[in-house]
Symmetry: C2
Subunit: 248 residues, 2 copies
């Protein structure tokens, strides 16, 4: 059944490498990375190194690695221009017979830079030459460190960014577990919101989870509010539990 | 940084093995499974084989594998009795110095049997002896097969079971992507609901994704409504997109 035994010449693979630890890549991701000619490693223009590149370091054996800085502004046009340039490189290399991989932290279809590339490359090549390999997302790795269920039985999960606090508060009424990404700069505001809703004891924050030497796990509301986390902060809010309803 | 190099004696590991393909385990999961003395492989009492056991077959080298059938009824008491019995076995073996692993399809903290075991084993041993290893959940594997983004920019994801159709419909108003688990018996009802909401063209259904020879991918509403999927059906509904809002 395994149609991903090795990277095929002329094909493109968008690969999730998980949150940062080299042993949280899937076996499929490792096999494809080992067999690729070119690896695209994105990093934000503000970062001095690519976390995704660190994650794959043990699996490099001569592949060409292209470091690709992308804008961290919420600027649709600049973002698309940046990824079109990268897609052009990928398509040219695939047409020249290379197996090309783009690595991305987490899962390539959850808030990932891969989402832009996949469509652009598919439009230029064909559906059959473009493949996506799932990866462990930060919220999964964070939840494992706290060893508490995310969802059980009839629970509903909402996963969203913390940028819109009104939307965050509305989500509390329609889920049992709320996961917030991109809460770096909002931690103090979020703690205030959840204190008001009686949920201050239900907060779990993981920063740089599974990244070498930097991982921080927080449950104390005051510590969370005061934490200077940068960008890579994930918050899990255990709102309630929704047990099995009466049998249908 | 890697504190999961091998399974420690006296410790318990709840490990997600992903949706079914052997190469969608993480490297961490493989290392721990290879180093375990005992592996608990759950299967529903209705299943004639354990899908999680098939997923780890290439990594077995003499470990004892215990097949553990659990009830598929929504019966809290029977469920807890079943898992307490299993927890007793795990705790006894850990106390005897074994490294014990429980494998589970998907991610151990997303609608998984591990959720019951983790708390019971932690109560009997200690937090430090209980570890959780994330796995690729079915919705991630399904989305990769369709190669379409789950969430981008400000999108919100809701993940829930399809058992309560009113809750499903309410969720449409508070997310851009809706993922439904356990929709096997509800596919026709769900198609009717989403047709009414003008979303019939936005449905993606994956059954037995990444399971040998059984995977089915469906996008046609009539085919989805008519499909006899059993239990392992995941539906992704692309409700809308929520672009970056005006800069804060």
């Amino acid at each position: 059944m395994n149609d991903f035994g090795t990277a095929l010449n002329g094909h493109f693979y968008a690969i999730g490498v998980g949150p940062g630890a080299a042993d949280l890549l899937t076996v499929r991701a490792v096999n494809l990375i080992r067999g690729a000619h070119t690896i695209i490693a994105p990093r934000s223009e503000r970062a001095d190194e690519s976390q995704s590149r660190l994650a794959i370091a043990p699996y490099l054996n001569g592949q060409e690695v292209i470091d690709h800085a992308y804008p961290m502004r919420r600027d649709e046009e600049a973002t698309m221009r940046c990824w079109q340039a990268m897609a052009d490189v990928i398509v040219a290399r695939c047409r020249a017979g290379q197996a090309v991989v783009q690595i991305t932290l987490g899962d390539p279809l959850l808030y990932s830079t891969s989402c832009y590339l996949i469509d652009l490359v598919r439009a230029a090549l064909s559906d059959a030459q473009v493949h996506v390999v799932p990866g462990i997302s930060a919220f999964q790795a964070a939840a494992c460190r706290f060893a508490e269920p995310i969802t059980l039985q009839e629970d509903r999960l909402v996963l969203m960014s913390a940028t819109d606090l009104d939307a965050v508060e509305r989500a509390l009424d329609e889920c049992e577990t709320l996961v917030l990404y991109k809460c770096g700069k909002k931690l103090a505001d979020l703690v205030r919101l959840f204190e008001r809703r009686g949920l201050a004891g239900q907060l779990r924050v993981a920063c740089y989870v599974e990244q070498d030497g930097r991982q921080a796990l927080l449950t104390d509301p005051q510590a969370i509010a005061a934490y200077d986390s940068g960008y890579m902060a994930t918050m899990i809010v255990h709102v309630s539990r929704r047990k099995w309803q009466a049998p249908a």
